[in-house]
């Protein structure tokens, strides 16, 4: 299959949206759940990370 400028642009754009969507709606919730599970099972590193993250007050003006 031969690609040209427009088909290439369409593929990379589509791929970018796919990554953004997967990250926001699949990877992040999964990662958070995994860390919470590890923290609940007594993993010190996970507990420390969650503590820092939860205590962080983000200033996003």
């Amino acid at each position: 299959m031969e690609l040209n400028l427009y088909t290439s642009a369409a593929i990379v754009l589509g791929f970018s949206f796919l990554v953004v969507g997967l990250d926001e709606y699949v990877a992040k919730p999964w990662r958070k759940a995994r860390w919470e599970k590890r923290a609940a099972s007594g993993d010190k590193e996970a507990q420390e990370m969650l503590r820092i993250a939860q205590s962080a007050h983000v200033v996003d003006e």
Partner: protein, 800 residues
């Protein structure tokens, strides 16, 4: 919002600028988007074009001769088509008809010089025939496709008795015939020529018994255009891999997106500018824009990494983190961009138009990174939602960071330092040994632009094997006055020149006016071999020329001699264009010319493919060392201003010089010569390689101001900036190495070479540079150790 928090005093202006960019984000964004939109529009108009003339050093004496005479005596733009039969010979009705029709087809290909087509089926290839009454006539070998076996036999007889045909355009084993066509330089449309040769000359005539091979520069560039479409696949696959890599590194889609924006904006500015100044993209140089974009993305990764780091340090305050990362990375980023741009700009010194165009466009493109990376960076971050703190924490404590910490620990141990210094010393010594084999020009017989097993190189090899040589070297015999070419001494010297140079193993055969006069004289004397000599008087020679040329129009005879008999040529057909062979052939030509002066004429070097390649190689030798010196010197000057230190350049350039030696050794061992195509890429590699070191040294200086200890500062620099440098090196190497999948061997090898360049210079910046700094404790870093103390004293004094 004013800067009402503590910032380093010497960077207050940068913090202020970063903050103001956020404050004025809307007007700045609108202006940049409008300009980018215009450049994007222009970029869409850009075309892929290669101009053969642009590859030549136009100021070189050989190229001037080539330009002056290529229109009449033929140039470097020859297409050679060979019809080869498996069974029998070409002397059958069917095969000769094919040759005749193929020649007709070739004569109709766009841009062909109709007077410079050579084939037994073309009107310009003639033989002498004794007509009724004892007169001699020069008639075309074939006036039409043969109608009977008798006509076939007659053509065979003519070919076997014609010195200008047998062995030159019909092989000595009668199995192959050549059609050689020269193209007008101003009408070279490689794509069209490629397609028309396929449809008019190749496809209709190839069958089980007859194979057709096509070679020559226009054909080569036709293949290059055909393969240029690879770039889209490479672009798509590299883009996707890069996005995934960045996502894995940052654990966040913003980390994938932000560097893409930088690369995209810089690409629009770069490509738009190329179109605005009336240039085009060269398919052979596509790896360069790719590399520049990868470089832009690398700077953006550094910035993004620092933004996350500062986000945690600044108590999760987004705006402060943006401003801090902008101000702290301003010096290494800006210095990096400037060294990249000026490093590329020195290529302008090589008097080859394509390289000069490349120098201007690539420098601009790189400078555009300052807009996309530095001007827009704080604004884009401000518009994007702040990253989740857990992502930042996760990144700072992840697997990658732990590996870097482990490596740094080993590197900075006593054994690590000894191994590093010892390993680099051995690598440089081995590199110096092998780089002696580095050649100027092409080290291979086939075209280095394509792979050895490509259809083009297969054809090229087949033709070379059947005819001994197809690459012309045209030496012009320029008369001082008209009729100079009728002078016996001139013609004898030309003949002597042929016999002398034919002893060179790289010369297949040669042709000149002397061959014609000898053949005509022999025919005039009833084919007695003893009369195949050049006559002693002007009048006899003039008479023989009259016999041969009287039936031909001046447009046909001009390819042998101009109408006033002032200027002619000696053409040697070389077996290949290997750099060493070209150098030796040209040296032999110069020796012969110096030892054999002519009374009525002067030999002038040199046209044809071999002539212009000789010119290019001579310019490369002249400019290679100068360019490398200027490339390094420019970087040293920028470093002098950036760090206000003479020795800083030595520390940063040391690993780069070592990398350069190793890469040159790799080129020598793998048969990659320094030519017009490879020269700029090596120079660009030097410019880009410095960036890794800049980020690490800047971070060491930053840390030593806080910690006051060189070892701890170096350790911190390696696990923070070094981590980002490691990641950017990986992305750069991946994006350039993927070019190895290109069908264009030049792009594939250059992609690999640049990946190696990036890899070695990265290893140098991550190992040799810090160890050199730890070993020699340079003053430009150590003086910063007392920065905090000095600042505190100054503040106290101010308060007092």
């Amino acid at each position: 919002m004013a800067i009402n928090y503590d910032v380093p005093e010497d960077k207050r202006a940068l913090y202020w600028l970063g903050d103001k960019l956020i404050e004025w984000r809307n007007p700045v964004m609108v202006v940049v988007l409008l300009v980018t939109g215009y450049f994007a529009y222009c970029a869409m108009q850009l075309q892929l074009v290669t101009s053969f003339g642009d590859l030549l050093p136009q100021t070189h004496e050989f190229v001037k001769v080539h330009n002056k005479y290529s229109g009449t005596f033929g140039g470097a733009n020859n297409i050679v088509v060979m019809l080869q039969v498996k069974e029998g010979t070409i002397f059958t009705k069917d095969n000769l008809t094919k040759i005749f029709k193929m020649t007709e087809g070739m004569d109709t290909v766009y841009g062909v010089n109709h007077n410079q087509v050579e084939s037994i089926g073309h009107r310009t290839v003639r033989h002498l025939r004794v007509a009724a009454g004892g007169t001699l006539r020069a008639e075309p070998v074939m006036l039409r496709a043969p109608q009977s076996q008798d006509e076939v036999e007659e053509i065979r007889r003519i070919v076997h008795n014609a010195e200008n045909v047998y062995g030159l355009i019909v092989s000595l084993d009668d199995k192959s015939a050549l059609i050689r066509a020269n193209f007008i330089e101003g009408r070279l449309d490689y794509k069209r020529i490629f397609d028309e040769v396929n449809t008019k000359v190749v496809a209709p005539f190839e069958d089980a018994n007859a194979k057709i091979f096509v070679a020559g520069e226009p054909r080569l560039y036709g293949w290059v255009y055909r393969y240029a479409g690879d770039v889209f696949w490479i672009l798509v696959v590299t883009y996707c891999i890069e996005w995934v890599l960045r996502w894995m590194y940052f654990h966040d889609w913003r980390g994938s997106l932000r560097p893409t924006l930088t690369g995209l904006i810089a690409a629009f500015w770069g490509m738009g500018f190329i179109h605005i100044i009336g240039l085009a993209l060269d398919p052979l140089m596509l790896v360069m824009p790719f590399l520049i974009t990868a470089r832009a993305v690398s700077h953006a990764i550094q910035m993004h990494d620092r933004y996350y780091e500062e986000f945690e340090k600044c108590g999760w305050n987004k705006r402060r983190a943006i401003v801090a990362s902008f101000a702290e990375l301003f010096v290494p980023t800006f210095s990096g961009v400037i060294t990249d741009a000026l490093g590329v700009l020195v290529i302008i010194l090589v008097p080859v138009v394509m390289l000069q165009k490349l120098a201007i466009t690539a420098s601009w493109w790189i400078l555009a990174i300052t807009v996309s990376e530095m001007l827009l960076n704080p604004i884009v971050y401000f518009y994007l939602k702040a990253p989740e703190p857990e992502l930042v924490v996760l990144r700072e404590r992840g697997w990658f960071r732990k590996q870097i910490e482990r490596f740094t620990h080993v590197l900075m141990s006593s054994a690590g330092r000894a191994v590093t210094l010892g390993g680099w010393t051995i690598a440089v010594l081995v590199g110096l040994y092998f780089m002696r084999g580095l050649t100027i020009g092409d080290p291979t017989a086939a075209s280095p632009l394509l792979f050895t097993n490509s259809p083009y190189n297969v054809s090229h090899t087949q033709i070379q094997e059947s005819f001994g040589g197809v690459e012309p070297l045209i030496v012009v015999s320029e008369g001082h006055d008209k009729d100079a070419m009728k002078d016996p001494q001139t013609l004898r010297t030309m003949e002597k020149f042929q016999r002398t140079l034919e002893r060179d193993p790289a010369i297949g055969y040669s042709f000149s006016l002397a061959d014609i006069i000898r053949a005509v004289n022999r025919v005039f004397h009833e084919l007695e071999p003893k009369w195949a000599v050049i006559p002693d008087s002007w009048t006899d020679i003039g008479g023989l020329f009259f016999i041969f040329f009287s039936g031909s129009p001046p447009t046909e005879t001009a390819k042998y001699v101009d109408p006033s008999y002032t200027t002619a040529h000696v053409t040697f057909f070389a077996k290949n264009h290997q750099g060493d062979n070209i150098r030796r052939i040209i040296a032999r030509c110069r020796t012969f010319i110096a030892e054999n002066p002519m009374d009525k004429a002067t030999f002038r070097l040199a046209g044809g493919l071999i002539g212009v390649l000789a010119a290019a190689n001579e310019e490369l030798v002249r400019n290679d060392i100068l360019m490398n010196f200027l490339g390094f010197f420019t970087i040293w000057i920028i470093l002098l201003f950036t760090y206000r230190s003479f020795s800083c350049g030595l520390y940063l350039l040391g690993p780069l010089i070592a990398s350069n030696i190793i890469v040159n050794a790799y080129m020598a061992v793998n048969g990659i010569g320094v030519n017009i195509h490879t020269l700029p890429l090596v120079t660009v590699g030097v410019g880009f390689g410095i960036d890794y070191g800049l980020y690490i040294v800047s971070r060491i200086i930053e840390e030593i101001r806080i910690k006051g200890d060189l070892v701890e500062s170096t350790r911190e620099a390696l696990v923070t900036s070094g981590k980002a440098v490691t990641f950017t090196a990986v992305t750069m190497i991946v994006s350039t190495a993927f070019w190895t999948s290109s069908h264009i061997r030049f792009n594939a090898e250059m992609g690999l070479l640049l990946a190696i360049w990036m890899g070695i210079s990265y290893v140098g910046s991550q190992t040799l540079l810090p160890i050199l700094i730890l070993t020699f404790k340079p003053k430009f870093i150590m003086k910063e150790a007392h920065y905090t103390q000095t600042q505190a004293q100054a503040a106290a004094a101010k308060r007092a």
